[in-house]
């Protein structure tokens, strides 16, 4: 370790090498068999279960938990994958505390839900560890479909189309498939290169080819694809990032949190530079992932600043607790006024906010945080994309073009929602293709 947490500026190698392995290890290790049996036994096998309704992919949760409890985790996994082919990743990254586990009758009754997410991971990990792919392709239909974007929506769509017997080509602008699973999620949620392992496992269905480094609009155009394929699916995510619109935003040391997270995922952690005093602006999962990982990289102080109150924060209470337990300080109800510094950032001046008649307003109360790194996590936008109307997301279907995932209108911007939309688009495309 050539630097320490106190070294000024944005530098790598602030911690002893062993600390990186420890800090970025699995945040919640998989259940062992006995733990899974005990956890599964808590499920009441509810009638018309609320958890199942709350799941965007409608996984039959009581059934898969019962399958675990009878020692057939592989059958449980198939129940999960039948609804959500990325059930492995969702088990790791779903905000279950806001979905299935929030409505679990045991959460309502005793404040301790059945640990659905961890049970799902136990089941999916068990099957995937065997290298088994539980589905087979239908006979070829002769139809060809282009899927743009190898993120959760595109992968789910491609898999379902392939199952139906269609030929699928995925175009991905980045070097690796996976989308946000590969580039946008905190390392400790999905260590050991799980995102790539999952893609490789998913592709075992056959009939899917993946072309990476190919960008829509640069290397291929929508009209090209339309003429070459019978149908097109757009799962292009949100390429744009909102700006702070505060003075000093262009100073060196100010960066988009999504880029920071993507770099982290693709790098040796010890080599990733991080500030001594890091300020993260925003209140979503991206903000939490950036803040926590800054701390894990050895930043001396990390502060998350969110312009509204705790209850408005889109990161769940569980995520907020995880941040504070990791040593991140969270300041609510404050917005940046200006970024301070000459060439590089030295601090950020904030003003406390108040709910006024016309919405959120800045008060006269200000404060300054020292910062040598500022990470912006105030939301993403569609940016310039084919078929995009100004400022709004894509509609789900236009002719033989479908859209799903973060780029499409409707639903929350969650991995699990993207999977549901990709899957459902594939079902709709299948009907249209076979009509």
């Amino acid at each position: 370790m050539s630097n320490s947490p106190l070294t000024p500026g944005i530098v790598p190698d602030r911690l002893p090498s062993a600390a990186y392995a420890r800090n970025f290890a699995d945040v919640q290790p998989v259940f062992d068999r006995h733990e899974a049996r005990v956890a599964a036994d808590r499920c009441y096998f509810c009638f018309d279960a609320p958890c199942m309704t709350a799941c965007p992919t409608s996984i039959d949760i009581p059934l898969f938990i019962r399958q675990i409890s009878t020692g057939t985790a592989e059958a449980a996994a198939k129940t999960i994958f039948a609804q959500n082919i990325l059930g492995g990743m969702c088990a790791r990254v779903c905000p279950t505390e806001q979905l299935c586990e929030e409505v679990c009758v045991r959460e309502v009754a005793e404040g301790k839900p059945v640990e659905i997410g961890r049970l799902q991971r136990f089941a999916t990990d068990t099957l995937m560890a065997k290298g088994v792919h539980p589905f087979t392709r239908a006979a070829p239909t002769g139809k060809k479909v282009a899927v743009i974007g190898a993120g959760p929506a595109g992968l789910a769509c491609a898999h379902r189309l392939a199952m139906k017997g269609h030929e699928v080509v995925i175009y991905e602008r980045r070097a690796k498939p996976g989308g946000l699973n590969e580039y946008g999620i905190a390392t400790y949620k999905t260590p050991n290169d799980f995102a790539q392992a999952e893609v490789n496992w998913l592709l075992k269905i056959g009939g899917i080819s993946v072309l990476t480094g190919v960008e829509l609009g640069r290397d291929v155009t929508l009209p090209d694809l339309q003429s070459e394929y019978d149908a097109v699916f757009l799962g292009i995510g949100l390429a744009g990032v909102n700006a702070l619109r505060a003075a000093g935003e262009d100073l060196s040391g100010v960066r988009n949190a999504v880029d920071f997270i993507a770099e982290l995922r693709q790098s040796d952690k010890m080599a990733v530079p991080v500030g001594r005093d890091v300020v993260v602006i925003g209140g979503g999962m991206t903000a939490v992932d950036a803040a926590v990982q800054s701390k894990l990289l050895g930043a001396n102080s990390v502060t998350m600043v969110y312009r509204r109150g705790k209850d408005k924060m889109s990161a769940s209470e569980y995520e907020q607790d995880h941040a504070t337990q990791s040593g991140v300080r969270i300041i609510y109800n404050a917005a940046p006024v200006r970024v301070l510094g000459d060439t590089a950032v030295a601090g950020v001046e904030f003003a406390y906010t108040v709910e006024g008649a016309g919405g959120l307003e800045l008060s006269q109360e200000t404060f300054t945080l020292n910062a040598d790194q500022v990470l912006k996590a105030i939301g993403q936008t569609l940016g310039a994309a084919p078929l995009a109307k100004d400022g709004s997301k894509l509609v789900l279907r236009q002719g033989m073009i479908w859209a799903g995932g973060d780029c499409a209108a409707g639903g929350e911007d969650l991995t699990v929602t993207a999977v549901a939309e990709g899957r459902d688009a594939a079902e709709a495309m299948h009907l249209a293709l076979m009509a």
Partner: protein, 433 residues
């Protein structure tokens, strides 16, 4: 604090908790540890005739079934009677009894079905100062194949005969241990009584196969690829044992015959239930084998607390208290009408009552907006299934309809006591005068 001192057929013990004849009572070292832990008495592991002792298998002796957290619910065994020489057992029994004069020491016996064998073994016991003998007519495995144990217990005439021999050849109290592997438990109990038994103890283990190995296709416990039936015990058998105890306690022929209750007793509450159904004391094995001898401390404190709360000063006030309320189906009050009631404050909306009632019972629960579950009184037959499947204790209760109220299901007004014997649908009904 309530006094748990118990006098069972003249055998005195500081509490009603005895260890049953079984592996925990096979050796001096175990029994001394048991008495140190506080057990009121032990029934020493069954002794056989003088001569070369029996042998046991050298593979697994126990099979089990478990709950989700590997809580042991039922155990079966294929162990035989003691495999140690008779003289060693006798010496150890005497040694322990000398040091624990206030505890009950009973010796379990199983010898071939002839009078000489029984006279000889009883003669060997004279010197031990034991308090009584228990005749093992129960074990369903191994020894039964040799005409002993359960093979005797299934023939009431043999029970009577052997009991009579024993009463003739010993001055000690004789307890006859009954096998549950029989159609009507009252018959062997009556035979024991006719033979002069001072008491019966029950149940011995139930013939069973606990599980089948689905890779080797053989029963567990598996010995070199084969398995055999064994004796089942533990919490899972308690309901069967309770019924058998109650049948003997309330039968005209065996009424008043002292009973030592056995079968899945794990806590003070289990023991109190056996005693309320007529057991003068209880015997425990599986619970001790699962958790060790210390569990008796919870049994002692729990039973004392319960008796204090009920104002009972002696266990004799508890023994048999529930017997008058055990009756035949035909005497149950057909005009007692209840309806299930779901407490909306306690309901956690799991819907299990709905699934159970709709799929398997009387379609008497409605599922409304926001998963609100309510009972349809005009359909509810008060079967109690919803109460039993509800995961929340006391969320669903059975509410009695008062006399004069109308049962919406039948349209009839609730009236006074009437049972099947006088019911209009009963072809053998006796006309009400």
């Amino acid at each position: 604090m309530a006094n748990l001192y118990t006098d069972f057929i003249g055998i005195k013990s500081p509490n009603p908790f005895w260890l049953a004849s079984a592996p925990p009572t096979d050796k001096e070292v175990n029994v001394r540890r048991a008495f140190e832990a506080g057990w009121g008495g032990v029934v020493w592991k069954t002794l056989g005739s003088e001569g070369p002792p029996v042998v046991n298998v050298n593979g697994p002796r126990y099979g089990a079934i478990w709950g989700a957290d590997r809580r042991l619910l039922g155990l079966n065994n294929i162990e035989l009677i003691t495999d140690r020489p008779l003289e060693i057992n006798l010496r150890e029994i005497k040694s322990v009894k000398r040091d624990y004069k206030d505890r009950a020491m009973i010796i379990s016996l199983m010898v071939p079905c002839d009078e000489d064998s029984w006279r000889d073994i009883l003669g060997h016991l004279e010197d031990t100062e034991a308090d009584g003998v228990e005749l093992n007519f129960g074990c369903p495995h191994g020894m039964a194949e040799r005409g002993m144990g359960g093979a005797v217990g299934q023939v009431p005439e043999y029970i009577e005969m052997v009991t009579r021999w024993c009463k003739k050849h010993t001055r000690m109290p004789v307890i006859v241990k009954l096998t549950p592997n029989i159609t009507d438990i009252r018959k062997p109990a009556e035979a024991a009584k006719r033979g002069g038994a001072d008491a019966v103890s029950l149940i011995n283990t139930i013939n069973s196969i606990t599980s089948v190995n689905l890779d080797s296709f053989a029963p567990e416990p598996m010995i070199d690829g084969k398995g055999t039936h064994g004796g089942y015990c533990g919490p899972a058998v308690k309901p069967i044992a309770l019924n058998m105890v109650a049948e003997i306690a309330r039968s005209r022929e065996t009424y008043g015959l002292p009973i030592s209750g056995i079968g899945g007793i794990t806590t003070w509450r289990d023991a109190a239930e056996f005693m309320a159904l007529g057991a003068g004391n209880v015997q425990v094995c599986t619970a001790a084998m699962t958790y060790g001898f210390k569990i008796v401390q919870e049994m002692i404190s729990g039973l004392s607390q319960y008796m204090d709360e009920k104002g009972m000063v002696s266990t004799s006030e508890l023994v048999g208290r529930a017997v008058p309320n055990v009756t035949d189906w035909q005497y149950l009050n057909l005009n007692y009408v209840t309806k299930a009631h779901i407490s909306q404050d306690d309901c956690i909306k799991c819907g299990r009552c709905y699934a159970a009632c709709e799929d398997t019972s009387h379609q008497a629960i409605a599922m409304g907006q926001d998963r609100t579950f309510t009972v349809k009184d005009d359909e509810c037959v008060a079967c109690n299934l919803c109460v039993n499947v509800c995961p929340v204790e006391n969320c669903i209760t059975m509410v009695e309809l008062p006399k004069g109220a109308m049962d919406e299901r039948t349209g009839r007004i609730v009236s006074g006591y009437a049972n099947w014997t006088t019911h209009v649908n009963n072809p053998t009904a006796t006309a009400a005068e």
